[in-house]
Symmetry: C2
């Protein structure tokens, strides 16, 4: 659906935006195209997917009934990862009843990182296009952060939702295909020195490797000086780590996150919220009763994947709590921007106060010994009387555990205004981090 | 250069070979095309690459001088990884003086696994082709082992020489892009159960993960039953492990190896040597003085990459010791086959007898406690009076170290017929293996 996925780059090197016409289209024009796609997708899904035939049928919808925004927003039922999982378990269909084409006609199947222990799959078909629509939207951010045809870029094998090499080539960049995953950064450093890439994508586990290089005396500012920008995704980046990467090592970080599994949402050069690509993701923000909340208010992100006809995600409940603005951004883009507060399912109600993991994070990372921000909220059920937290500390051999425990408990209690206990302090060495690396994410809430 | 890289699959599903005309061409026809390419490449390299301009010039060759096999085999100088490295260090040119086009015109840069601590880079350009020539040749093996259009296949992010997704698609297969690297196999097992892929590529570190699944009670034979074949590369596979994978778990293994960095060399269904793709790799097997040895005799593999005009490797000394046959194979292919004995640089002369790591391996893996075959030959210089070996053992807590040491020393001495010492027995847990996973290979010879 995006221009770059089927044709070469048309923007001029001096332009800030890769596809200015699409990226700055008026809200009215966007809504018009989005509605047409939502209507098409609803009919297609009901006609060809067993899952939607059942759910739309149960909601009393006949094919063709969905024709307006009002139809879509009031009649189309929600769906969720749980619903796909239930269908899979019931029928044994690995595609969860969603697929609208023959499995052999699919272009690619990708998997999410499976943080919650059950990976989500995404099935795509893009005949005649050089890369997936998701990748094509990724390129808009690469362009804005400064990647240009002829640049070399590090191509990370640990892609979320697939690799990026085709996309890099579509942009005219030369992908350096090296294994940037754990344990390999001596080699990666060599590649960086030789080929001076302008872009890399990092995730939390990479930071352990970068810190190792720094500890061994590598001049990180000099090593990383060829990068015009560095994409960062996966686990949220703590404020202290961000400070180190940007101020100490001089990295120009561009953070991105998932647009509820239907695409990506990137910071732009304004670094003021994550842009949703309007041709990829139709977004609603809803309260617990399924009613739309206003701009700036917290609600659950509900998405419709506008660019995927073969594995439709329509009104998909993401469990992500977000705030949204539809105001035009300083960068000129008209697409909505969001701020992510955490998973709705991770919200813990402590003595009547709702606590989200990011609040705990910002407190944990303030202490020197726990600046990596490794912690888990322990709760047997969603509502508890006391906050209980397990924290990992860097075991340098000189840590005063009793004192660290006192400091953490005190700041958790006072800053959150609730009773808090430290359940466990675990030594968390770089090696242990490394071993856990592949998961890319730590579950922030645990039952025990 | 290969058919599949620029056009869709033309073979019929029932055919054993993907490109029968090319794969069974007569030796005369092959030599004719190879000579034309070798001549073209020699001229091109001398005209456009600084490295070859210097080396050919020093050898008294003018552009156009190389026109026959005799010219090529007697006048064209050898080159090596050391020569590229030296050029890089001298000039700071990351491409080692080899590149014949502007760096921004390159399609991709890939890196070898860097076992020896200095990764080798490979630079490719393939305009208008859906995948790299190396990948296209890979597809011949996929076809023969039974992958057909419409199949789903596991797509490994830890690719040597690049990822394979474009190649899988060129074959009409649906790539499942999941992270099959360390720590992720619970998720991968889920993917296998849901999508029943017919092909996966494994390397040694994956085996640790597979064993973990088996130890936890997963029925490996059932889990892996959808695979028509499994490619295996990287570190050599020990006989005991091969037995487990094939007899116990029912995997149909197809092992492949590097064609001296210019491509890949795969076993075919006859499992009788590694086939070299004649349109990718021109091969010579030479003795220490640079003279060709006969079929079946051991010599150093020297290769010329016939399919790469932008980063020419001409008469590249690989340091690999091989035996070669040019006899037509039982599968019908006319391409030469090789057997790899080890690295020439790893040959250790013990009390006058040349010992290669694979000989030590086959002895170490015979003992229960050391069946994973982890060992290093320790030598301060190439010629020594006693063989000294460091061995890793599985530390189950019930190992009788003195007895294990006696058994290993005795069998090394008696079976190799030389004085041997066990320098060190190191506990080698699965966790330690895991941490070392990314390197994919263990250096088999160490100075200390």
């Amino acid at each position: 659906m995006t221009a770059v996925s089927s044709s070469p780059v048309e923007s001029s090197p001096g332009s800030r935006l890769l596809e200015p016409e699409r990226e700055t289209a008026s809200a009215e024009r966007i809504r018009e195209v989005q509605l047409r796609r939502a209507v098409e997708l609803s009919r297609l899904a009901q006609e060809r997917s067993a899952f939607y035939r059942e759910s739309f049928g149960a909601a009393g919808i006949s094919p063709g009934d969905i024709a307006s925004w009002e139809d879509f927003e009031t009649r189309v039922p929600f769906m969720s990862k749980d619903a796909i999982r239930a269908w899979r378990d019931r029928t044994g269909d690995g595609f969860g009843g969603l697929l609208t084409v023959d499995p052999s006609d699919v272009t690619t199947v990708t998997a999410s990182s499976g943080t919650t222990g059950d990976p989500t799959f995404f099935v795509e078909q893009w005949p005649g296009q050089v890369c997936s629509p998701l990748t094509a939207c990724y390129l808009r951010s690469l362009w804005e952060l400064g990647v240009r045809p002829g640049d070399t870029v590090l191509c990370n094998p640990a892609g979320l939702r697939g690799y990026l090499e085709d996309g890099f080539r579509a942009l005219g960049a030369v992908p350096l295909l090296v294994d940037t995953w754990m344990g390999n950064w001596d080699e990666v450093a060599e590649v960086i020195r030789r080929y001076r890439p302008t872009y890399a994508q990092l995730m939390s586990p990479h930071l352990v490797e970068l810190e190792r290089l720094a500890h061994r005396g590598v001049d990180m500012r000099e090593l990383m000086s060829s990068f015009v920008g560095v994409g960062f995704a996966g686990e949220p980046l703590g404020a202290r780590m961000r400070e180190k990467l940007t101020s100490e090592w001089g990295l120009k970080l561009w953070v991105y996150t998932s647009a509820g599994d239907t695409g990506l949402a990137w910071e732009c050069g304004e670094h003021d919220g994550y842009h949703l690509n309007w041709d990829e993701t139709l977004v609603e923000v809803l309260d617990a009763d399924g009613r739309a909340v206003g701009d700036g208010e917290v609600g659950e992100l509900v998405v419709t994947a506008l660019d995927n006809d073969v594995y439709p995600l329509i009104r998909y409940r993401t469990d992500d709590l977000v705030r949204l603005t539809r105001e035009t951004c300083g960068c000129g883009r008209t697409s909505p921007r969001m701020w992510v507060l955490g998973r709705a399912g991770d919200e813990t109600v402590v003595a009547g106060r709702a606590v989200l993991p990011h609040e705990v994070w910002s407190i944990v990372e303030q202490e020197e010994e726990t600046e990596t921000g490794l912690f888990q909220i322990i709760r047997p059920q969603r509502e508890v009387e006391r906050l209980r937290v397990r924290v990992g500390f860097e075991d340098s051999g000189e840590v005063d555990l009793a004192d660290l425990c006192r400091r953490l408990t005190a700041s958790l209690s006072s800053r959150l205004g609730i009773p808090a206990d430290l359940v466990d302090l675990l030594p968390e060495t770089a090696d242990q981090l490394l071993r856990r690396g592949s998961a890319a994410k730590v579950p922030r809430v645990a039952k025990s």
